[in-house]
C-alpha cells in the first residue's frame, strides 16, 4: 500500500479504519462545541507530541490498527506524530484510535506539560533544560 494514498486521497479508507465512527464522533464533537463553546476536554490531551505508552499485554482480537499501536509503543513511549507516521495514517485518524484505546485503558498518555500557553513564552527552566540538552548534542 502506498502511504500517500491513505486518508485524504481515499476517503473510504477512513471509514474502514474507524469503523464509520469518525463521522459520528466528529458530529458529537460539533454538538459539544455548540453547547459549551469549548472543545471536548479530551481533545486537549492529544497533541502531536503527546507521548503514548501501552498498558498491560495487548488482548487478542483487537482490531489491527489498535493492535499495531500497542505493538509500536510496547518498548518505550512514542509520540502521536510518530505513531501517525509509522501507521501511515493521518494524525486525525490516529487520535480517534488512541481515544478508543484510552477508553478501554490499554494506553496511558503523557501530555506536553511544559508547552507554553498561548501567547506566553516558554518558562525559563524549560528553556534552560532545552539549551543544556542541545549543547550536549
Amino acid at each position: 500500500m502506498n502511504t500517500r494514498q491513505v486518508g485524504g486521497e481515499d476517503p473510504d479508507r477512513l471509514y474502514i479504519v474507524t469503523g464509520g465512527r469518525l463521522v459520528a464522533r466528529a458530529a458529537a464533537h460539533q454538538d459539544a462545541l455548540r453547547r459549551d463553546g469549548a472543545p471536548n476536554p479530551r481533545d486537549a490531551v492529544l497533541d502531536l507530541v503527546t507521548l503514548v505508552v501501552g498498558v498491560g499485554v495487548p488482548p487478542p482480537g483487537l482490531p489491527t490498527e489498535h493492535a499495531a499501536i500497542l505493538r509500536l509503543c510496547s518498548d518505550g513511549p512514542l509520540s502521536l506524530a510518530e505513531l501517525s507516521s509509522y501507521l501511515a495514517l493521518p494524525v486525525t485518524v490516529v487520535k480517534l484510535l488512541l481515544r478508543d484505546l484510552l477508553a478501554v485503558g490499554r494506553i496511558a498518555v503523557r501530555p506536553p506539560v511544559s508547552a507554553p500557553a498561548p501567547d506566553r513564552l516558554p518558562d525559563l527552566e524549560t528553556l534552560k533544560q532545552v539549551l543544556v540538552g542541545l549543547q550536549n548534542l
Partner: protein
C-alpha cells in the same frame, strides 16, 4: 511502499522515563532545506506524516469533510532529540506558503518557537511566514540557509525581508549537524532574551 500491518518503528525507542515533549517548528518555502536541517540534528531518520484538511480550512471536525471531495492532506516531516531522561524535543518542518497556514495553528500550537529558514534565491517565499508569525506573536528567528551561488550579506537579506532589528538573523548550513544545532541554540537564546525584555520594559 509501506505495509501498515507490519508497521515498525525506525531508530531507537525513547527512554521509558521520558514524559515531557517539546516542539520547535522549522518553516520555510519549498526546498529551503527544512527536511535537511531536521535530519542533521535528529536522532531518528526524519519521519513524514500527514493531516487531513478541508480546502475550506475547516478541519476534520466538520462531519461532512470525510466523505467530501474537498478534503486534502498536508504532509509535514519531523525529527526528534532526546534532551535528558525526562524531556524530548520534536522538530517539525512545515511548508510556509499561505495556503498551508491553517495547518500551523492546528498542529503546532504549544511550540517553544519557530525558525524561518530562508533560501536567498527565493526570498519572497519567506514573507508570508514572517508576517504571520509576527501577527500571531509566535517568537522566531530567521536562518539563511547558504546554498551555492551568490551570497548576499545578511544586512541586505534583513532589508529584503523587512525584518525588525529585534529579530535575530543568522546563517547556517542545514546539512551540517553543528550548524543546525546552533540554529536551535540561537532560537533558545532568543527566547531567553525575550524573557528579560519582558521583565525590563
Amino acid at each position: 511502499m509501506v505495509q501498515r500491518a507490519a508497521a515498525v518503528r525506525s531508530g531507537p525507542p525513547l527512554r521509558a522515563t521520558v514524559g515531557d515533549a517539546l516542539k520547535i517548528v522549522i518553516v520555510g518555502g519549498f526546498g529551503a532545506g527544512k527536511t535537511t536541517l531536521v535530519g542533521a540534528v535528529s536522532e531518528i531518520p526524519p519521519l513524514s506524516t500527514e493531516e487531513i484538511m478541508t480546502t475550506a480550512g475547516v478541519g476534520i471536525d466538520d462531519p461532512a469533510a470525510v466523505a467530501d471531495k474537498n478534503t486534502t492532506t498536508v504532509a509535514f516531516d519531523f525529527g526528534r532529540i532526546t534532551l535528558n531522561d525526562r524531556q524530548v524535543l520534536y522538530l517539525f518542518g512545515a511548508p510556509g506558503q499561505q495556503r498551508f497556514w491553517f495547518l500551523w495553528d492546528q498542529l503546532f500550537g504549544g511550540s517553544l518557537g519557530a525558525v524561518v529558514l530562508v533560501d536567498t534565491r527565493r526570498i519572497a517565499d519567506s514573507w508570508y511566514a514572517i508576517d504571520r508569525l509576527e501577527h500571531h506573536g509566535m517568537p522566531f528567528i530567521v536562518a539563511v540557509n547558504r546554498f551555492d551561488g551568490p551570497r548576499p550579506p545578511l544586512a541586505r537579506v534583513r532589508q529584503a525581508l523587512d525584518l525588525s532589528p529585534r529579530i535575530p538573523l543568522i546563517e547556517c548550513d542545514a546539512r551540517a549537524r553543528r550548524s543546525a544545532k546552533h540554529v536551535l541554540i540561537d532560537l533558545v537564546a532568543h527566547l531567553t532574551d525575550l524573557h528579560s525584555a519582558e521583565r525590563t520594559p
